[in-house]
Structures are given as C-alpha cells and as structure tokens.
Point group: C2
Chain length 455, copies 2
C-alpha cells in the first residue's frame, strides 16, 4: 500500500486517507495529520462517512480531536456525536471551552446530555456547562464562555499575572482582564498590553479603564454581533441582571453568527426552507425547495381562478391578457425592494430612526414617484408604440400605478409585522409576499379594466 | 439657555447639541461629549448638518476627533473631509492608524491627497500611507495597517517587551507579536499571553509558534473574511510575494467587510442599485429603485408584445390567459432558488466541490423532480378541479415542467457566468434573471399551447 502523505487539503489526500482508514493504518493517519490546522482537518472529515470520520477522530490526540469535533459541519458533527459513547464524548468535552462543550451537548437529547456531563472529570467545567445549558438558544448566555480572566480591583499587576498563569490552560485567547469588585460586579477592563507595560506592584485600580461595553445575558446574538461590529470589539463581557460578570463572548463566535444570519436571509429571500447547500443530496435539495414552490403554485392557481372570472371581458378585449406579466412582475419587484429596505433598517436599529408615521409618509412618496414615472412610460408605450386606444393605455398605466402603491405598502408592512412576531423579516422578500402581490396586482388590474372599459 | 446635559445617544441630546452648536457653546459641547464612545459620538454627528458636525469635530480633542471621524457614516464623512483644510485634516491623520488614514484619504482627489500627506508630521506615517495607497481597493494590501509589533527571532522576551513599549502609542490593539528573521521574512507568532508568562531572558525562538496563517497582499477582502471566520482569527499578518511581513489586518475591519457584503447581496437580490438606507431622501430612494424597475417594465412590455402575437389563438382558447401568472411566477421562484444556492457555494469555495458536470447533472435531477411534482399537481387541478379538457391540462402541466427545467438551468448558469466576469453573482437572484425567466416562460408556454392545441 502506498504510504499516506503529509496532510494536505486536497482530493488526493482525501482518497489516501480513506484508504488508510480502510486499512486501519493508525500510525500513518496520526502522523500525516499531526500539526495540521483543526479547521482543515474538520473540512476533510466533513467529506468522510460517519464511521470513517469517527475512526480518524479516535486516532487523534484527545485535545486535538476535541478541536476538530468543534469545527465539523453541522450534519457530520451531529452524526458523530450521536454515535459516541458518553464517556468518550465527555473526555473530549474535558478539552473544550464551556461554550463549545455546550454546542456539542445541545445535539443530544436531555437524558443523554446528563449522562455525558456526569462523566466530565473537572467539576468546575461540568458546573459551567450546566449553567450555560439553562440559557435560551441565541441569547448572550448561550453564546458566552465561562472561561475568562478577571482581576479584583485591589490586586497588583503581579497578582493578576499569577491569575493569568493559573488560567492559561483554560482560557485560550486573552484580550483583556476584566476588573471586578468584591461582589464580582463588573467595573472595567485592563488591556493585556497594559499589564505587560506596568510595573509589578502597580494596583489594578490605578490602571483599569472604566469605559467598557458589556451585554446582558438575555441579549439576542444578532444584536451582539452588531454591537461588536460597531464598537470594534474582539470580546465582550456578559453580565447578569445584578451587573455580576458571568461570561465572555469572543469575536470568532460572532463571525459565525453573522455568516449564518446572511445565509438565513438569503435563503428566506429565495424561498429555500432548510439549511441546504449545493453539495447536498438531490432528495434533500428537492425537499427544501418544494414547499415554497407550492406556495407559488397555489398563488398561481388562485390567480387563474381570478382571471377566469373575467373570461367574458377578456374575450371582448383580448389585449388585456398581454399585460398580465407586466403587472405581476412590477408588483413583485416593487414589493421585494420595499421589504429589503425595511429588513436592512430593522437589522441596524437606530435611536434616530424616524417615527413610523414619517416612514410611511416617505414610503408613500417614493411609491407615488416610482408609480407615476413607470405608469407614464407604460401608458406612452401602449398608446404610441403598440398603437392601442388611449382608454386602454390609461387602464394599463393606472393599474400599474396602483399596483406600485399597493406593493410598496405590503412590502413595508409585512417585514415589520413578521419582526413583531419574532419571524425573520427577510421572509417578506421571499416567495410569500411575491405571490400575495401577484394576486393583489391581478385583482387591481382587472378591477380598473372592468370599470374603465365598461366590460 | 439650558445647560447642555451629559452625552447620551438620544433625540433629546441631539436637539440640545444642535442648540449648543448654534450658540457656539464650545466648553459645554466638549464637556458633555468628553469620555463618550467614538462610535456613539459619530452616530450623533451623522444626524447633524455638515457645518454642525464640523463645528463639533473642531471642538473635540484632536485624538478623539480623529477616532470619531473614522467612525462617521460614508456620506457625512465624505462631506466633512471635503470641507477641511489640508493641514487640519493632516493633523487628524497624525492620530490615526495607517489603514484608517488611507480610508479617509481615498475620499479626496489625487491632488488633494498629496497636499494633505505633505502636512503629516510623522515621516514614518506618511511613508506608510503612501505605500498603502498603492494597493488595489478591496485587496489585503488596502485593508491592512502598517502598525503592528514584530520581534526578531533572536530577541529575548525583555527586548520584545521594550519593542511593545516603544510601539504602544502607535498600535492600539496587540494580539500577537509576529516573529521575523533578519530578512524580515515572517516565521511565526508569539501570543501576548506567552510573553507575560515567560521569563525575561527567554529567547523568542524558543517560544514562538510556527503554525501561522498569513495572507498575500493581493488577496480579496471577502476571501480574507472567510479565512478569519474559518480559522477563528482576531488578526492576520499580510506578506508580500517574498514572504516579507508588510502589514496586519484586524477582525474589526473584517466585520465591516462581512456586513457590507451581506448588504450588497441583499440589494443585488432585491434590485436596488445604490447603497441606500430607509432614512435617505425620497429622491435618492426613488433614483436607486427606478433603474431596476425599468428593467422589469421593459421585460413586461416585451412580454406583452410576445403574448400579443398569439391573440388569435388566445381568442379561441381564452383559458390560456388565466395561467400566465402561474407560469411566470414559478419560473421566477425556481430561478431565484437555483441562483441563490450557487451564490452560496461560490461564497464558500471548497476544494472538495463537485465537478461542473456533476453539479449540472444534479441541478437537472432536482429540476426534473420538482417539475414533475408541480406539473402533475397543476395538471390535476386544471383538469379535475377547474374542469378543463385533459388536453388543456397537459398543456399547462407540460409547459410548467419545461419552465422549471429552463429556469433551473438559467438560475445555475447566470451566477457562475457573472462571477467569472467579476460581477457580484447575487445579481443573478435579482430582477434581471426574473425578468428573463418571465419571457422565457411565456415563450415556452405559448409554444407548447400552439403545438398541442393546434391553434
């Protein structure tokens, strides 16, 4: 058998790794992977079957296996976690920071979770984990880690350095030392840089900065991401209702939150119901897409019923049929534009936001302007270029104007309502609102036509 | 006059600040703003007129004014920068890190830029700035700062701490010390934590980590964001073609890149041509929306021409009109779903991606499955519920099937082609592809109808 080569993120290495797994070449695997980056190894294991991935994980050193497990994609991670024995999984959790351990445990049913926690060696860590499991998913509490460095106000720099030394194993990334009083209330922070540059007997209280941004345990993860972006933070302390320091959120977790949010928005806008990727199976992809397409189909069938009701009028004035796509497409486009603008302003809430009344007044103005311009263009084209009657041009132009107004209104209101009910407002830019706008547009179009053409 | 209150991000404070500016109450303004966060002050100035904002900036201490200027929104920042004298602006740039200074300078025409640079006091800084200005916008070179801490391989810890002390003023955030050899080639890094915990005479070469991710100066900012997210980095060193360490990118810049990218994608998908916000003026909002709506209108008018060509057939078979919205809407929905999936996989490029041929085969399979299900549902409804002829049901069902196939193909190919030509592939999910799919769908529908119904 060909000797397995050094680790490389390539299809060739993947193949040779598969061969080595089949041949159970333990030393070959561990040697070739040694020293590689955990995210790269995880990307490789994502491509393997569950059994193969598990085999490789068991070959690796425990601390490194723990790092790789954290970095696995959702689906392979879930499968591997389900398959492991409680004691085996607990041994890996022993090497994780508390927030990562909780992410892993959240993939198990409650009964199994407790079984795994009971196997964790360090009592401090299992306590941390049990605390974190109590916070609601997507809140600061669920995102934070219990591992961070804090210093009492009255400590000296040398005492603080001792604390850093004591915790160095547990806290992978140290940016600031959080300063607390005797009641554990958060008072401020000292940058690591300042610790290095201060003399050993300097008191913490003489060098710490009071100007510090913290977040409460219940804050939503997207809001936290926006705060960290806005204030350029690499970590943010989390406090409970009594301002007691309870955890720390690091920017790497927030980068994941932002990426997920962007993906969710795009999927909501494009009408895909699950978190699928192009590389998923044909069946999964079909399943994720069909529900939204069905909504469109139901809308289309209702539209057919609606138009069918005007068959008599349509027969007399067959040109009416020609402009159906113009009306529905414009309604859809206007609706999506409007809702996307609202979605953006919901994402970046500002205290200086205009009042709801003023916002609607503005939406109305923009819609009137857009509607007027488009209505006139279409009127002109229908009458002067397509040589229809002036009366018919008025029907199409006026209907278009009304549709632009209505679609703007719908596109503005829907995301606000969705957001109020805790639904992702980006849904409003998806197939649902488009379908509703189609029907509304058709109704307006035929109503205006029947009125003005006396059909 | 009422005394201006302590800084607060509120409409009330904004009003009292406006009054103080009008009354030229310099000490009141500086006292109330002192100690506030620069991002908050910037958010406040974003709401003021250019003259008011400039007045406040001139009242503030220079270093703080520089921080606030960096944090201003694009538009107010542009206006303020245009208005300042070269020497005044240079005095602020003196207090910025080089990457921020370059962002500000990029808002000036080349002639003014050089004028401002000539006024910068520190020669080292103006050299940095001139170097950074040479890199292409959106590349690692344009995103990086020249301020970072590096240590020679042969230094001791105490020498390294001396270097940190020397640079502490210039480098705001220190995460790692980058280790270089005598030729300035990047070899690795030492975490600040390790510097604290090592004895003074330890050699850098004995404690540094070789395992380090760096990026080349020409790498695209979105790729850098993906790398920093993937490998959980708070900063990444930038190297030139000879592996010489030339700069450092910090995660705060990357958070902005990610947010901008998400906004751009959403705007491309929803058909908004400028970077507008809900709070912009009616005129600006209208201008940003009209171009895309025009594309839709042109498509709709072409569609009208197309349908008009079949007026004779339509008159004989008036039900055909009823199903026009069903056909166009489904084509649009399928197209957007397909292109969004491609856009996502383009954003997260993987070495394990399937070949183009396999991907198209899969797209075809998914489309056939979706098309089959939807076509059968529509056939059934048209024939059994709406009581049309079987032949007519076949027309609508078959046309729908073809439209799903075509729209899937278009939605998959378009973003790949756009990406190849350096255009944001998310455009493919916007009004353009929807409009094209509408026309294609109509053509297929009427072609199938004319064939099968002998019209």
């Amino acid at each position: 058998m060909e000797r397995i080569r050094e680790f490389e993120l390539s299809k060739e290495y993947l193949e040779s790794l598969r061969d080595s797994v089949e041949a159970q070449d333990v030393s070959g695997i561990s040697e070739s992977i040694e020293g590689a980056n955990e995210a790269d190894v995880a990307a490789l294991l994502d491509e393997l079957d569950m059994e193969e991935a598990l085999f490789v994980l068991r070959v690796l050193e425990r601390e490194f296996a723990a790092d790789v497990l954290i970095e696995l994609d959702e689906e392979p991670q879930f499968k591997v976690v389900q398959e492991m024995e409680s004691a085996e999984l607990a041994a890996l959790l022993d090497h994780m920071e508390s927030d990562d351990a909780v992410d892993i445990l959240n993939q198990l049913v409650v009964k199994d979770r407790e079984e795994v926690i009971s196997h964790i060696q360090e009592k401090e860590k299992s306590g941390y984990i049990q605390e974190l499991l109590r916070y609601e998913e997507g809140s600061a509490g669920s995102l934070m880690a219990k591992e961070f460095i804090k210093a009492n106000l009255n400590w000296t720099v040398v005492q603080t350095i001792e604390e850093i030394r004591r915790q160095a194993e547990n806290v992978e990334k140290i940016y600031s030392i959080y300063v607390v009083d005797n009641k554990e209330s958060l008072l401020g922070r000292v940058a690591l840089k300042k610790i290095i540059l201060s003399s050993a007997d300097t008191k913490v209280k003489d060098i710490y900065e009071e100007d510090l941004i913290s977040v409460p345990t219940y804050m939503d993860e997207e809001e936290i991401a926006e705060i960290m972006r806005r204030y350029d933070l690499e970590a943010v302390p989390v406090v409970n209702a009594k301002n007691k320091l309870v955890g720390r959120i690091t920017v790497d977790d927030v980068l994941d939150v932002m990426r997920e949010q962007a993906e969710e928005d795009m999927q909501a806008m494009s009408g895909i119901s699950d978190d699928v990727e192009e590389s998923d199976s044909v069946f999964r992809l079909t399943k994720a897409r069909l529900p939204w397409l069905f909504i469109g189909i139901v809308g289309g069938l209702l539209g057919a019923k609606l138009i069918g009701g005007y068959n008599a009028g349509l027969s007399k004035y067959i040109q009416l049929a020609s402009f159906i796509p113009l009306i529905t497409a414009t309604g859809g486009n206007v609706g999506i534009q409007s809702s996307s603008l609202v979605v953006q302003s919901l994402a970046a809430k500002s205290v200086f936001a205009e009042s709801l009344g003023r916002r609607f007044a503005k939406v109305l103005m923009v819609a009137m302007l857009n509607g007027l311009v488009l209505g006139l263009v279409v009127f002109g084209t229908v009458v002067f270029i397509y040589n229809n009657e002036v009366k018919f041009g008025i029907v199409v132009g006026l209907a278009l104007f009304c549709v632009v107004l209505l679609a703007s209104f719908m596109g503005t209101v829907t995301p606000i309502v969705l957001d109020k009910f805790g639904v992702n407002p980006a849904m409003a830019s998806g197939p649902f609102i488009t379908t509703a706008n189609d029907l509304l547009g058709l109704a307006v179009y035929f109503f205006v036509a029947m009125m003005l053409l006396n059909l």
